[in-house]
Amino acid sequence: MLFGVVGTGVTDVLTVGGFVPNDAESNRVAQVLEDDFATGTYGWVLLLEAKEKWVYTDFNRAEGERITTLIEEEPGVLEVASFYNIPEPPPPGLSPLRDFTGHLALIGVKLSGSDDEQRRTAAHLTETYAVDNELFYITATGATEISRVAAEVADEDLTRAELLAAPLTLLGLLMVFRGFRAAIIPLIVAVVAVLGSFAALRVATSFVDISIFARTLVTALGLGLAIDYSMLLVARFREELAEGRNVDMAVSRTLQTAGRTIGFSAATVGASLLGLLVFPVVYLRSFAIAGVAIVAMAALASMLVAPPIMRLFGEGIGVREKTTESFWGRQAGRVLNRPIPWLLGVTLILLVLASPILDINPSRIDERVLPKEEPARIAAERIRTDMSMADVNSVHMYAPGGDWEDPQEIFDFTKEVLSIDGPVRMDSTLGFVRLDNTSPINTLSRHFRSIDDDPADGTWFNIVYRFQPDDERIDDLVRTLRDFDTPWDEGILIGGNDATRIDTVDTVVSRVPWALLVIAVVTFVLLFLFTGSVVMPIKALVLNLLSLTATFGGLVWVFQQGNFAETLGITATGTIDVFTPILMFCITFGLSMDYEVFILARIKEHFDLSGDSDESVRQGLGTTGPIVTAAAMLLAIVFFAIATSGVSIVKMFGLGLAVAVLTDAFLVRATLTPALMKLAGRSNWWAPRPLRRFHLRYGVWETDPVDLPPNARPA
């Protein structure tokens, strides 16, 4: 209940931004332009469609001017470029901010402040101005508005997914446990874990920014792990009861064995999420923090909430004999008999699934991430189709040493920039200079001087290019401009929407190897401490990588290349959001490791007792496999519910996770794990002798409880 109270309204304190690396060049430009020049990018755009006549007809013009003036006076608005505040016809070179037929007009608004402040301003502007009136159909769009609407729709969709998943999960649990009491425990634990995670997020926001999309992580990972952990506890408790132990002893032994596995699994999953800290992006770092909180909550909830309920239900929970005569036991037997065909066959399938990943084209989201019926998307698509986005998506060039008191130098530089492929207009203190008329056509423009009017602050340039959005030449242009020779020793910095996208993708992609390395090293160390083997961690890492690569290959095939796009109701953009696969990687890697730890714990338990590698694999898979299958299927239900979202990245997230856990459970754990373990034989447990000694002394051991005399006291 406390968690419920603390966690309430957490969405309101989560940040909607944090996608851009703090030290990115484009971020520095954005900061300077806002602080020193009171300008920025057009994050919020209003599209006005005249109901009668044309947008420049007198009565429409009067209304447009009124709206423009009101917006200009709104707090949080830096600058407004409107069809109604430029001369008609516009000065040569300046976009007319209307379509050719005269039915559509644009008002572009630059917003001030942090991402969250801009989101709030955008929400207010949309609520106030994106309202049809007698003269216009009015719709809001723009990068900030699209991102705001995406977060809002995703939030609503997640609430719906949670409501949809809860009864389906209970139904699944009833089928797995064949008893209401046993089935309800994972659900109770999951609810406590999720509420606890929201409370933890709320507390965490007091210290750091946490992305609003962390809520997706709570639903996916919090629910998933809580169900996994509590299923493991309930299954073990039933086995202990079946072995004739009384309820107290069964609970105690369950916590000593499965409890330790859960603690260790939580440490492994948490550690893999910490790999996100290598990305200098608030969005991903906040997932690392949120992820650790969620994992801790899932482990705590299962260990603190499940035992009292198990004690309360006692034998009424249903006693289940430990058996290896499950599908998994039989499957393990089949694979152990013919390991090489199984290994080659499944590996081939996974490699084929993985192959599209070679074409992966990471980028950032645009309006097509939204459902087709969303007004912000419809408006953006109309602008894309019927109007020029040139002014909205221009390149910002900041020249710290640019001296606006030397117009000839600025003019010469402008001519040089306009001589390369792409730019058609360059705005500066000289005014609007066009490609086809490279003589200054305006008097000095105040707009490109700092607010202190100090030449030492430098100046900036607005470069309008001829490419349509999605044109790959935009990236080449930004990179060419970054390497451009300038007359100033201080050089230039490039910003704007395109540069921001490029900086974000480049930074994230460049850190991926480091994140993989951190995750691999941490996982290797933890799995070594758990198994005492150096072969097992390598096997686990390779299999996880194979399983995840196959999943991502599938995502590229669908979401980037557009296969089944119509069926799924998405629009393929030829790119894939750079953040979503990384986030999914950490979650699925964590869940895969979770399953690996569950299975390895049982295999090792048996191997320690018997020294028989094959039989240990058969026993371990036979007893734990059904739990892994059931947990994976239940999680898949939750993830498929998330995939019903209309926001394409959330859909990709849900669908990808569902496919990943099912692939992992059915293809990797059921076939590749036993096949490789059979081929490796006793080498599975190999480690250099000093490391084996180290593990025996300092490693993690799932201790078997011993039956002590009743009056025994710890010495």
Partner: protein, 136 residues
């Protein structure tokens, strides 16, 4: 009881006489050490065995078929036969004084025997002694 103290106590037990200090500390890490009142039955003849007992301090009485066959003091150990060759316990062991007992689960017993040759040799020596006694 601290691990270091347990290791120091183990050093006086013949079973661990070949162990290095590092080995002793490793065994100490896995040994559960408890104090037990007099008159407590540690092992019951005929039961299935899952535990290895090491008497660190105190005295126990060993009986078979209801007849006391001997007393054992600090350094004595019980239960290894049933853990090495699964069979019912061969004797009943009851504490005769306040006892400090080190306990290992069957799993950790087997891991230690497998991983620490010094303990395996000690155990073989102890078993050889028991065999010789039985033959005499």
């Amino acid at each position: 009881m601290k691990r270091r103290e347990i290791a120091d106590t183990l050093a006086t037990v013949p079973l661990f006489s070949r162990c290095t200090t590092a080995d002793l500390r490793t065994v100490a890490r896995h040994l559960e050490v408890v104090d037990i009142d007099p008159g407590t039955t540690l092992i019951t003849e005929g039961d299935e065995g899952e535990t290895f007992y090491l008497i660190l301090d105190g005295e126990v009485e060993v009986s078979r078929d209801g007849e006391v066959v001997g007393m054992a003091q600090s350094g004595a150990h019980f239960g290894e036969l049933a853990l090495l060759d699964p069979a019912p316990r061969a004797a009943t062991v009851v504490t005769k004084s306040d006892c400090r007992v080190g306990i290992l689960s069957v799993r950790m017993f087997r891991v230690i025997v497998r991983e620490l040759p010094t303990v395996s040799f000690g155990l073989l020596g102890a078993l050889a002694g028991q065999l010789r006694e039985a033959m005499e």
